[in-house]
């Protein structure tokens, strides 16, 4: 399924996009398969599939722990790509964005990584430690494989930078709503809403808001502020992290949580 087509279709229906973010292999590959199926059935529109990295500097405590557990479980970048291929075979039809830190990509080789990602069935890449200044090489490899390289903007991004980013972006813009790292937060900061307006004026690209989103109310506020969708990651990992010895027991709660978020994306503006 094409990324742009899916986002366009949601926009036409007046619906926001819900993109759960999971680090594959936390706490085990078997659980990740079940988790991803649960998310897809619960109404996820896109999936951000994370390849764990040893030093995730843009992530907060929940995802740091997720990466550590996944790596301890022996998960490798190739293992993640293989998993995506299997998910596709089993009928996962959502657009998938692969996310990982730049060294993982560099280590495999940019061209090879992008080719493998496309073969595995993803539509794009999110690289949280690759600002637009450093992105040209990967951008070329990604475009060569028909992959989107998703760029991020933040409350600290100046107008000048934002124009440079918008100039290279495709697919959607990932709008980091808070200063800081990933992690569920109780309240939505006013800066998030303000930023959404600032980006909206610059581009017609879809805007997906991320970092700190943990409640249906957050989703409603962000969509009202002009977002086309939301990324929810740590809030999901937090649920199964509480029962790591038998995480599948939490799948019903996760399903309920995702359904409530998806419901929020359908609320009228």
């Amino acid at each position: 399924m094409e990324l742009e087509k899916r986002l366009e279709e949601l926009r036409r229906r007046g619906e926001g996009a819900l993109m759960p973010h999971v680090y594959f292999g936390d706490p085990s590959p078997a659980f990740s398969f079940r988790l991803i199926r649960t998310l897809a059935e619960g109404g996820a529109d896109l999936l951000e599939l994370g390849i764990p990295f040893s030093d995730p500097i843009a992530d907060g405590p929940t995802f740091i722990a997720a990466c550590e557990r996944a790596l301890a479980a022996g998960v490798t970048p190739r293992g993640c790509l293989e998993a995506l291929r299997r998910l596709r075979e089993e009928g996962l039809h959502l657009p998938v964005l692969l996310t990982t830190y730049y060294n993982v990509i560099l280590s495999m080789g940019l061209g090879k990584f992008c080719a493998e990602v496309r073969r595995a069935g993803a539509q794009g890449l999110i690289v949280p430690d690759l600002p637009v200044e450093e992105a040209d090489e990967l951008l070329e490899s990604a475009r060569g494989e028909g992959l989107h390289l998703i760029f991020q903007v933040a409350p600290t991004t100046s107008g000048r930078r934002m124009e440079r980013i918008v100039g290279k972006a495709s697919g959607f813009l990932y709008v980091i709503g808070v200063e800081g790292v990933t992690g569920a937060r109780e309240e939505l900061e006013p800066s998030t809403v303000e930023l959404m307006g600032r980006v909206r004026r610059l581009t017609s690209l879809p805007l997906l808001a991320g970092f700190g989103i943990s409640r249906p109310e957050h989703v409603v506020s962000l969509l009202r502020a002009g977002a086309d969708g939301c990324v929810v990651g740590s809030a999901i990992a937090r649920i199964y992290s509480e029962r790591l010895e038998e995480p599948e027991q939490t799948l019903p709660s996760i399903s309920k949580f995702v359904r409530s978020l998806k419901e929020a994306t359908r609320s009228p503006p």
């Binding site: 990295f53 040893s54 970048p77 830190y101 990509i105 930078r161 800081g180």
Partner: protein, 389 residues
């Protein structure tokens, strides 16, 4: 290219931090060259830090090696290491940028201590992130930081060592760049940090050049410095990069052995990769996951080599070497007995290389060791090693 040393360097950080890096680069280029800044820093380096540090003709080590050995006495900088040179510079810069708080990480505790001192000099709040393992093995420096009023925050993510503390400091900085300056302690991290730290540390080499010319009437044959990120080494080397006749040796932590996972020798065992914002020589596995480094010297226990150093070693201008833990402990004892000086375990890597590699140094050559820090902080480790108590 901006912020690059050959192919190394760059700015591989979250978009959240890019504004702060641009702001810092602009401020450094604007403020650093001004006479007011230079005067203020110069006075602090002289009257507070105790510069210039002496260049000492080490007769005992000279006798042992057959060379004319000089020690650049950075151990005499207030706080006991070269770290304060950079901390005073960056603290002054941060204050002029209107920041009110300094954060940083530390391993051996020397950089944390120097940041706490510099923070008090300029009147800024200080928070230090330190791996739980390092807090244990460098307990005396933790106490000194606390006495100076710094907040010391334990880091238990990853393996609870320097690499993890750097990650956590970057995460904290992303939350508060408006008020806070990350006082990077080594020539690592995203541009402009490697350039800023090397600039502030290059006072070592400028003094050294003048001092050796006064003493010997010529440049040295070789300079030996220890390191991981590279701040004391680049500080000493930068003034000599164009002098092809001066051989430059960089000594990294060999750890127990060069077997898997027992070493910090990134030049021997690593390959280029991106960590903490820069492309540099890096210890990593075949999948690009960063490997934990291992050495008894907490200050050398970092898996990356700063971008400038990575470049200088790749071009061959600097020779990358290593010393093993057991050689390092022996070098501490030898230096104590031969000179009456107690070097830090980190510094002892440079001394160990000089003592154990006669093939590199001809008789009568003038060799300068950058004596980057004193070893009081390592007393407990040394006692346990030598006396089992």
């Amino acid at each position: 290219m901006k912020g690059r040393f050959g192919r190394f360097g760059g700015q591989y950080v979250s978009e959240v931090l890019m504004h702060a890096l641009e702001e810092l680069e602009e401020a450094f280029e604007r403020i650093y060259p001004t006479p007011e800044f230079q005067r203020e820093l110069g006075l602090l380096l002289r009257d507070y830090a105790g510069r210039p540090t002496p260049l000492y003709h080490a007769r005992g080590l000279s006798e042992l090696t057959g060379c004319r050995v000089y020690l650049k006495r950075e151990d005499l900088v207030t706080g006991g290491s070269h770290k304060l040179n950079n901390c005073l510079g960056q603290a002054l810069l941060a204050r002029r940028m209107g920041k009110t708080r300094l954060i940083t990480e530390t391993a051996a505790g020397q950089h944390g201590l120097a940041t706490a001192m510099a923070g008090n000099v300029v009147g800024m709040e200080v928070e230090i992130f330190m791996g739980v393992k390092d807090m244990e093995r460098q307990a005396s420096n933790v106490k000194r930081m606390l006495l100076l009023g710094a907040k010391v925050t334990p880091v238990s993510t990853g393996s609870g060592v320097l690499k993890d503390a750097v990650s956590d400091t970057l995460r904290e900085w992303a939350r508060c760049t408006g008020t806070t300056h990350y006082l990077m302690g080594s020539t690592v991290g995203p541009h402009p940090f490697p350039e800023i730290v090397a600039t502030f540390q290059s006072v070592i080499g400028r003094e050294l050049r003048q001092q050796i010319l006064e003493r010997e009437g010529r440049l040295p044959d070789a300079i030996v410095a220890c390191g991981s990120g590279g701040s004391n080494a680049l500080g000493a080397f930068r003034a000599f990069l164009q002098d092809e006749g001066v051989r430059l040796y960089f000594v990294e932590g060999g750890g127990e052995s060069l077997e898997a996972d027992n070493s910090a020798a990134a030049f021997r065992l690593g390959r280029p990769g991106v960590l903490h914002g820069a492309l540099m020589q890096l210890l990593q596995d075949e999948h690009g996951q960063v490997k934990p480094s291992k050495t008894r010297a907490a200050g050398l226990n970092y898996p990356g080599r700063g971008p400038e150093l990575s470049h200088l070693c790749e071009t061959g201008r600097v020779k990358a070497c290593h010393a093993f833990d057991r050689e390092v402990f022996e070098a501490v004892r030898t230096t104590c007995r031969a000179e009456g000086l107690l070097p830090a375990l980190e510094t002892a890597h440079a001394l160990a290389f000089l003592l154990n590699h006669p093939e590199e140094f001809s008789r009568g050559e003038v060799v300068v060791v950058n004596f980057s820090g004193r070893g009081d902080k390592d007393l407990e480790t040394l006692m346990r090693y030598f006396y089992g108590a």
